[in-house]
Symmetry: C2
Subunit: 235 residues, 2 copies
Amino acid sequence: MPDREPLDVLDAIHTTRAQRYLKPDPIPEDVLWQILDAAIRGPTGGNQQGWGWVVIRDPAIKQQIAEVYSERLLSAYGYGRVSDEELGTARITRGGVAEGEVGIDQRNRRGVVHLAEYYAEVPVIVAPVMQTAARMDDNTRRAGAGLGGSIYGAMQNLMLAARAFGIGSVLTWTLDEGTFFRDLLGLPENSFVMGLIPLGYLERGRFSQARRKPLGEVVHWDRWGEQRDAPESGR
Amino acid sequence: MPDREPLDVLDAIHTTRAQRYLKPDPIPEDVLWQILDAAIRGPTGGNQQGWGWVVIRDPAIKQQIAEVYSERLLSAYGYGRVSDEELGTARITRGGVAEGEVGIDQRNRRGVVHLAEYYAEVPVIVAPVMQTAARMDDNTRRAGAGLGGSIYGAMQNLMLAARAFGIGSVLTWTLDEGTFFRDLLGLPENSFVMGLIPLGYLERGRFSQARRKPLGEVVHWDRWGEQRDAPESGR
């Protein structure tokens, strides 16, 4: 077992956030196994475990994912349409990301762009796959969100376990459309990549708490709209 | 802050499993706030936080949920159609669950039936709600699974944080259909209860590891079907 310091579960939860600046340094295989062993303890409806976890280290496969990810980012998410000014001069080019004072929103966008640029260089990309008897376009509720309920919890376990080893991660690209992944990874029919999780040691940033709305604003007591202020958390 | 022992994140992950035998004893409000504060650190696409967390303690509301849950269990999941013999004499009646030697499958079913019977008596039920601009039946991929990717991780955080306080939980009932919850909880339009999480101290059982297929069977290296045996985990 690789050495690591114990990390309290609440501390782990409060310091696991999207990390998009990842070093190319390899992750020991034994660590990967431990992270995956944690993942599969997550909820799976009826203990069906209709999942597979593809651990991608092959540079050629990573390169193809990086290219498609950048393309999609440009087209679907509109990153290609924002001006340089808006983006704090960050762009998807191989020239690196400009430095300078940027706001939180811009910083986040810059992180997204950075990851797109360097996606092929992260040491590991995990592709969690769900296999289902149901057709994905059959019944939104069961096949869509219901399917997610049987894997996204395990994916969170995976990211928390990575954190325990000082490894950063981020959940990107929520659902496979078309046959790109089926062809790339040789997936069976009715299999869907439910997201992509790049893993790597931190190149920049630290394990800090994700910013969220005040807790009292999103908690309702018995009925929607019955709200109170949350106590100071002390974190 | 209530006292609790630190719990390593990997230990927490490996001992968080579906707990269906829960005591009616109340959970301190400060503990609930801490659990919810952990939940909201989970992934939320674009930091949109389109979620609300309804904390249900009102006996009348719990009773209505319990009734609908039992009904659905009987009809949709076929528990009403299995024989007493199959179910190890466990039934949805107010008479309690018979003791005796039962297999794993039967034990699991008996747990499900037990929870259905006592759902109204758990101290707290958390209903995580997603609000979305998209119609749920609009686009399976984005609205269904994509939506799930922005809340089920947070729900896993919630269950792990509960574990840190010695509180058991289980993810039940993966998606709201119809207007039952909208009416019951006064939810706004385009809001969906993504699951129900009963919380309570353990009445029976312990925090043990969920049984899963051997890790090597569900992990694929670079391409689907490229598999190896996992090392002994030591757990």
